[in-house]
């Protein structure tokens, strides 16, 4: 529960900003890679919790935290989708309004989606009714989160001296750098909205998974024995900048992983 404790401090290498990921090997077409996203246009999105202004502020903040092609020149170069493209604000809005749905949108269903075969039905889209223990917990958790997000928007606007959503990106970055608690609230949920299964409302067109070349859920297909046992081939990464900074912080990072129960998958 101690989400904001800091690891041991250390001097950080300077100029750790734009560390490129340089893959020295040619791109490999990975077996089991994510299928092409369905090209369906973005559905008309009804906001259930946020006002239009609040949604604009959260979307703007999320796009600074996890930028896409329209938000950052490096991402444009790589054509790598970010929070805006993944519809993260709708993930957050859906979570905060979970109890507005007949079956609260807390736990997506199973046993599989329709992305890798299966029986043609996306069972993940049928959310699982809450048991009393989870209802009791989320009836406590969500009101607090709703308050926190509403407050976060107010703080962002106040710092921007107007609407955060329309402030220059350099100013938005400065505000997000300064307001650590607000940043971490939005960032943690933005990461969920990027990489969770799309049934929760984010990761649209599998934008989050595509941005990291990860196939996501794999049932009913799974993987073949050679895909499990063999290397995909050489894939060198040049460690500099932010990657070097991460390795310098490895003791703290791995300690945090241990605390969170890292070993899964």
């Amino acid at each position: 529960m101690a989400e904001h404790h800091k690891p041991s401090r250390r001097q950080v290498v300077a100029a750790a900003g734009l560390a490129p990921l340089i893959s020295l090997a040619p791109p490999v077409l990975r077996p089991g890679a994510a299928p092409e996203a369905n090209a369906a246009a973005k559905p008309a999105d009804k906001l259930r919790f946020f006002t239009a202004h609040e949604a604009a502020v959260i979307e703007a903040a999320a796009a600074r935290l996890v930028p896409g092609p329209d938000d950052d020149p490096v991402e444009k170069l790589l054509n790598s989708p970010g929070a805006r493209e993944a519809g993260v604000v709708h993930y957050i809005d859906t979570m905060l309004a979970a109890f507005d749905f007949k079956v609260p949108k807390i736990f997506a269903g199973g046993p599989w989606s329709d992305r890798h075969g299966g029986d043609g039905d996306d069972h993940m889209a049928d959310f699982v009714p809450l048991t009393p223990r989870h209802k009791a917990a989320w009836k406590k958790r969500l009101p607090q989160l709703r308050k926190d997000f509403r407050q976060a928007v107010k703080q962002l606007d106040a710092a921007a001296g107007g609407s955060f959503a329309t402030a220059p990106t350099s100013k938005q970055d400065q505000i997000l750098t300064d307001l650590g608690e607000v940043r971490n609230l939005i960032f943690g949920h933005t990461i969920e909205g990027m990489y969770a299964v799309p049934e929760y409302g984010g990761n649209r067109n599998l934008a989050g998974w595509k941005s990291i070349h990860w196939p996501g859920d794999s049932q009913r297909r799974g993987y073949t024995a050679p895909e499990v046992e063999s290397s995909d081939g050489a894939d060198l990464v040049l460690v500099s900048g932010i990657l070097q900074a991460l390795l310098d912080e490895l003791p703290a990072a791995t300690a945090k992983m241990r605390e969170r129960g890292w070993s899964r998958g």
């Binding site: 904001h4 690891p7 950080v12 900003g17 734009l18 990921l21 089991g32 935290l65 991402e75 970010g82 736990f107 997506a108 199973g110 046993p111 993940m124 699982v128 009393p132 223990r133 009791a136 989320w138 958790r141 970055d173 650590g180 940043r183 971490n184 960032f187 969920e192 990489y195 969770a196 299964v197 998974w209 941005s211 990860w214 859920d217 794999s218 049932q219 297909r221 073949t224 024995a225 895909e227 499990v228 290397s231 894939d235 060198l236 990464v237 460690v239 932010i242 900074a245 991460l246 390795l247 912080e249 003791p251 300690a255 945090k256 992983m257 605390e259 890292w262 070993s263 899964r264 998958g265």
Partner: protein
């Protein structure tokens, strides 16, 4: 009646129902797998969904069912998540990674084989390895363990001899496991195929695992792994067993020395009494000790809830800069290595002596595996936050920095791990009792865990962490590695709460009435008809994953107490050929 429906409960239900008892099982969690009672495909809402797991789909939520924790009786108490286990029909075995190593001969006879341990309550178990060995084999067969007898190293067979009940060969090995296992071999260690109760072929009416990769801590979407429910099925087949889900037992009702029944509370609030001739407690170690306290069991020697043990977890992380490890494919951690469980591991006796200790012991290492994507992202968020808050630091703690980290994936796709499940000695001060103030959403007082690692555990960390790093270094030239014990994780991040999911002790069994809560067969001392059938009876923690030993112990004890009517189940019909 039986409290709980997991590993220990399934065995108790099978034995009792096959010996003429009518059994009612009370499970406080929901049913999340359906159709397992019959041979055929199962139905479940478990899925490849990390967020669902992070939101504790199959676990208690700390906002409605918290636990209390303090490092020692003088420390402040925190309320929140303390070592939760899956809480649903099937218990922890619905989402475990199904690893089934056996404990060693020295685990059952620690005092007589290794001598006393100053400061710790080291005693022999009331039975030997040789006595439990056939029960191990029965449980392996009943659950359907995949493994290779030929692959078992000499060291393992020396301390845990005999033919295993492997009913099918191992499945595909994770690439990350193979890579780290090669590092073990370079150092002369002995990795082997981790025995696990996951189908490598169609078996028991259930399909072969298709390597979907979201395995450990996830419920199996296809029923290739159903854990204790494979045993519970034999109980259901008698027609004498009923499972009531969403019902928590909050009191065993005593009349003198007899339990006459239980008081229960439904999750929706209604409550009632259930009469019983026999009460079996199998709710897992912390919850069973909680129930014993709630029921005011006799405790003349102040042993109830004491000698609580977790494992002394240490984790190693190897980062491969020249390739991706794709640990998101296949069963998790398909190799293991038991060399560190040997108290005679080269150098360890000398090191222990230098620390003023009789000996020290690590445990089994789970080899390979990594973390998931959302977890990875939130770790980078944490690191960026730390970097960005350095005065004068040049890192913007978000944006393309974050995406660069995700694309390079040093802490997921390029990571291969080692989880070291090291022995945790029993200490009386480590215990479960009731928190004096807080209650769960049902209104039942919550358990309070008091726990700190002892001198043995700290010495084992000092000795074994560098060895784990060396293994990872040996696994690849372009490798960066780090290893971290749970207790260091605690000191860096400001908490001291164990998270390992291996929970043992509290209702310790033994021959000596002054030092045990249950007798040599798991019956509660001072009461006529209360049987304990979970990991709470363990007198020591062993140095291996505990579930198989929980079940084999339950089988040995239940057979002694209730008869042999189930003896035809899990027999070897000559087809153990692997």
């Amino acid at each position: 009646m039986i409290v709980g429906s997991g590993a220990g409960a399934s065995v108790a239900a099978m034995v009792l129902s096959h010996n003429g008892w009518d059994v009612t099982i009370f499970e406080k969690g929901p049913r999340l797998i359906h159709g397992w009672e019959k041979s055929g495909p199962i139905k479940t809402v478990f899925s490849n969904d990390e967020l669902k797991y992070n939101r504790r789909f199959e676990e208690p939520d700390p906002l409605s069912e918290p636990r209390a924790f303090r490092a020692d009786p003088g420390s402040a108490t925190s309320i929140g998540e303390v070592n939760p286990l899956a809480s649903c029909v099937g218990g922890g075995t619905t989402h475990w990674d199904a690893k089934t190593p056996r404990f060693w001969d020295i685990d059952f006879a620690k005092r007589s084989m290794l001598g006393p341990y100053p400061g710790a309550d080291v005693e022999d178990w009331p039975f030997t390895y040789d006595e439990i060995s056939p029960h191990y084999r029965t449980v392996e067969r009943l659950m359907g363990v995949a493994g290779s007898q030929a692959a078992l190293p000499d060291l393992v067979l020396k301390h845990a001899p005999g033919k295993r009940g492997f009913v099918m060969p191992p499945g595909p090995m994770q690439y990350s496991s193979l890579a780290v296992a090669s590092g073990c071999e370079v150092l002369g260690l002995h990795p082997y195929d981790f025995p696990m109760a996951i189908n490598s072929r169609h078996h028991d009416g259930r399909p072969a695992c298709n390597n979907c990769g979201q395995c450990s801590s996830y419920g199996c979407p296809i029923g290739a792994r159903i854990g204790a429910l494979a045993v519970m099925r034999h109980a259901i087949h008698t027609g004498r067993v009923e499972i009531r889900d969403e019902v928590m037992v909050d009191k065993v009702v005593l009349k003198g020395k007899r339990a006459v029944g239980v008081h229960w509370v439904h999750s929706k609030g209604h409550e009632g009494h259930h009469s019983a001739d026999l009460v079996v407690m199998a709710a897992s170690a912390i919850e069973t000790a909680r129930l014993a306290h709630l029921s005011h069991f006799p405790d003349p020697h102040d042993r109830l809830g004491r000698d609580l043990m977790f494992h002394n977890f240490m984790d190693g992380f190897g980062i491969f800069l020249d390739r991706r490890m794709h640990a998101y494919r296949g069963r998790s951690t398909t190799k293991c290595m038991e060399d560190f469980a040997d108290p005679d591991f080269p150098g360890s006796r000398v090191f222990a002596k230098s620390m003023g200790l009789p000996y020290l012991r690590g445990g089994i290492c789970e080899i390979g595996g990594s973390q998931d994507v959302i977890a990875e992202g939130q770790i980078y968020q944490f690191v960026l936050d730390a970097l960005g808050s350095v005065p004068g630091g040049a890192v913007k703690p978000f944006g393309t920095s974050f995406k660069t980290l995700m694309r390079a994936s040093l802490l997921r796709d390029r990571l291969a791990g080692i989880s070291h499940v090291a022995e945790d000695l029993p200490y009386a001060v480590n215990r479960v009792d009731l928190d004096p103030k807080h209650r769960d959403f049902r209104g039942v007082p919550i358990p309070r865990v008091t726990y700190s690692p002892g001198k043995h555990e700290q010495a084992a960390i000092l000795f074994y962490v560098p060895l784990m790093t060396a293994v990872l270094k040996a696994a690849g030239a372009a490798t960066v590695s780090a290893a971290v014990p749970e207790s260091l994780a605690d000191s860096l991040t400001g908490t001291a709460i164990p998270h390992g999911a291996h929970i043992m002790g509290g209702m310790r069994m033994g021959k000596n009435p002054k030092t045990s809560v249950t007798d040599a067969t798991g019956m509660v001392r001072g009461l006529d008809n209360v049987f304990v059938s979970d990991g709470s009876v363990f007198p020591s923690s062993g140095a291996q994953n505990p579930t198989l030993t929980i079940m084999a112990t339950a089988l040995r004890n239940a057979t002694k107490n209730f008869g042999h009517g189930h003896a035809h189940l899990g027999r070897d019909h000559g087809e153990d050929a692997v």
